[in-house]
Amino acid sequence: MKDFIIPDRDMGTPAVKSDVAVNLLVDGISVSVPAGTSVMRAAAVAGISVPRLCATDHLEAFGSCRLCVVQIDGMRGLPASCTTPVAEGMVVRTQTDEVAQVRKGVMELYISDHPLDCLTCAANGDCELQDMAGAVGLREVRYEPGANHFARRDAEGPNPEYRPKDQSNPYFTFDPAKCIVCSRCVRACEEVQGTFALTIEGRGFDSRVSAGMESDSFLSSDCVSCGACVQVCPTATLIENSVIQIGTPEHIVKTTCAYCGVGCSFDAHMRGEEVVRMVPSKDGKANHGHSCVKGRFAWGYATHRERQTQPMVRERITNPWRVVTWDEALDFAATRLRQAQADFGRDSIGVITSSRCTNEETYLVQKLARAVFGNNNTDTCARVCHSPTGYGLKTTFGTSAGTHDFDSVDDTDLALVIGANPTDAHPVFGSRMRKRLREGAGLIALDPREIDLLKTPHMGESLHLPLRPGTNVAVLTALAHVIVSERLYDEAFIRSRCDWDEFLAYAEFLLDPRHAPEAVETLARVPAELIRKAARAYAAAPRASIYYGLGVTEHSQGSTTVMAIANLAMMTGNIGKPGTGVNPLRGQNNVQGSCDMGSFPHEYPGYRHVSDPETRAIYERAWGVELSPEPGLRIPNMFDEALAGRFRGLYCQGEDIVQSDPDTRHVTAALAAMDIVIVQDLFLNETSNYAHVFLPGSSFLEKDGTFTNAERRINMVRRAMTPKNGYEDWQVTQLLANRMGAAWSYTHPREIMAEIAMTTPSFAGVSYDLLEREGSVQWPCNGQAPLGTPVMHIDGFVRGKGRFVHTEYIATEERTGARFPLLLTTGRILSQYNVGAQTRRTGNSVWHPEDILEIHPSDAENRGVRDGDLVRLASRAGETTLRAHITERVAPGVVYTTFHHPTTQANVVTTDNSDWATNCPEFKVTAVQVSPSNGPSEWQEEYRHHSDLARRILPTAAE
């Protein structure tokens, strides 16, 4: 009977995992379901929808509305089908006279306290209350008008029970008049999101939904605007403002969020070419029906009035922009690029690919450099975040990627979270981790700042190691020291999966007293006993997992830290089984993909070195040109070479390097020294202030392609509307390449993916047909793993034996001193994304209108800084001003900020220090001084002035 069930249909209660099958009869139809399944779900499996109001398969059954009653042979009364588990041989009747009677009565009661303005209600046609009234055959309401929650006033005056709408959230409205108090919203906020922002206040007739305290609105409460409550609300009580404005959608396009590395699947609910709402897909394998405020609501930037849709050029960056045709812009760009090569050599130009664009687009941009420019000058902004992950994990395990899928967190007994803040930067994964923590899993957080995960409501054991920025390697090595000295390692695993002698050598290295917690204590400012406790907990957990973020990679020892993490996992045998592993949490949506697609100057797609003759031969054959065997320039090298006058031209797709890269002054000087800078983006940005050609880009809603998330999952992106700029981004790259003499003729991204699969062993099995069929797959996907690989290194490491690399702590050159006594570290917050170009252009700005500097009370007091003061933040590289927030979340001696807003320009103060192996910039440690200020820094003033000038566009009529 399963065939006609639509996958998205609400089955009433969640699926249950069990090996035991139970057989029963529902309305004469026999079904078999896993033990523990509810009668309601079993009926749904048989194709029968039992009426329900408080139940939904997003949430555990609650059993409060009594609409779902059924008759079960041998059971007394009418049990609620949502809370009654199936039993072998059960005989269920979902419709009898008695059942029908009870349901009508229940509905009548609900409807008597509900306004009957269905025709003009925003949920009209999409309201479960309406549907249920129909389903139970309600034809009349016999109650006299009386006490209710919906009438503003009655004959005697204002209704004391009436509450006005709460419209404080920019994206959804709460209209208490329509609430049936099913408490789905409260449970979604707890079970799915893990925020506990909502409660049911009062009892019986007096009960109502409330966001926190009586005085709180949704905006002032703890609500993080994830939308889970809106999604489960059966009525129009919680509803998207876009639905109120536009109406109900008429078709759905399945796609993938373009914000973070979780890679949530979404159903774009459309009316014509207009998005009505974005709803997280229940069958999305990364998000299972959940989302965060960014993907769920912050898509309005695609139609923002500042979006540029026409190509523009200018002779000099001091001139105003001139709107031109695509032909003129592309000719201008191609001519200047070729001119630069004629004057300064083949290696004088290059590209920067985007970790926001699709795999197919990235592949084409690196192909442009290698096959058309004839050099390997291609790099990606992933350089500035996760390049050490690639290097570190390839060296130790053999693959440049995380080991597990997100689902694996459900099996973990302890999560070690290092330099990551999942509830802000990877919110949907953060929610899933919180769920696991509520189920009792332990948490160890290694972070200079007290992250929100540590404040998870109803969690079990947790430890916070508030280490000093820059001491990751010292602390991780000390953890390993404890594991070895106390013999807590997994000898059997090490002997079979790694090289035992190599481990012994590492053990000897670790046992040196300089790696003992007591020696590391002063340096890292973490009590030795805490380090010991954490090491024991990690080693003792049957299944311990490691999740890490930019707080690991963005250091001068970023690559060493990644290897120290890999060592910990190997020596405790936490690899290859569910609930364990080493999992990088990637920043932008397609960081993984842009690395996979050969964006790096020394690696072809699939991480194969450019000097490898076999790989080169594959591409020479596929592309029909001779290819350079020499590594090209990394982004920081490009800037150095530009300042030396040798690097003259850059094609930069979908990235804002001026804002995202360290040492802003160095970057802008380098860009200003080039002859041709081409920026392809949705908006004029900080980088385009230094550009000669602006090529308008397309948003993720306007193109086909794929993104690869942090768990190596390749997800489809689908075109929901026509590109406002006329072309999808890959088409623009193709036009430029062809202007420069290439003869590319791709007609659809599926053809680009076919070329990727043909030339890259780990992608050999990937095709659009497969993705359409499976929804998504995780690479490696090839002959050995035709449907992809959720967990890697199960029976052995990709490189053969796992490798223990020695992890000596080497202090960063960035030291505090008399002039710069504090350490600045940087991070992100939930509502804004990266440089903020998109999120700043949405309602999300109500949560984070500016970047804030967090400072410890004692440091603030010493400097005469009060909460909310404007302060000057200075380093050896430069200075800026921003507002201070005094908090004990940061330790004394440490300050913290985000970098979402261009006026702050936090990267004016970051330095050009970088990871020894990959040149990933050291964003997480800068020596700074903080002092009271009374206005923007000189740099900010100058910058704003320049920026205003650089963004002038000549009126088209004046041409």
């Binding site: 100057p601 020394h602 590594p631 990394r634 992890t807 000596e808 050009d912 020894w916």
Partner: protein, 72 residues
Amino acid sequence: MSDDSKLIRMASQMAQFFASQPDRPAAEAVAAHINDSWTPRMRQAFVDQIRAGVQADPVVRDAAGFVRLPAG
């Protein structure tokens, strides 16, 4: 700041890491990493500086001998 002194600094960072590894001579490892990740021009400039006698860690100096130079 745009000059090639950064190259020496980057090589020294690599030297510090590889000096702590047991498996092979640090100078060779540094050179291998440089060969893998630097352009021919950067490699040439690095070797030129070492040859010109610039101040550097002994490992960095020795590494220069193993750095692959562009032909010609």
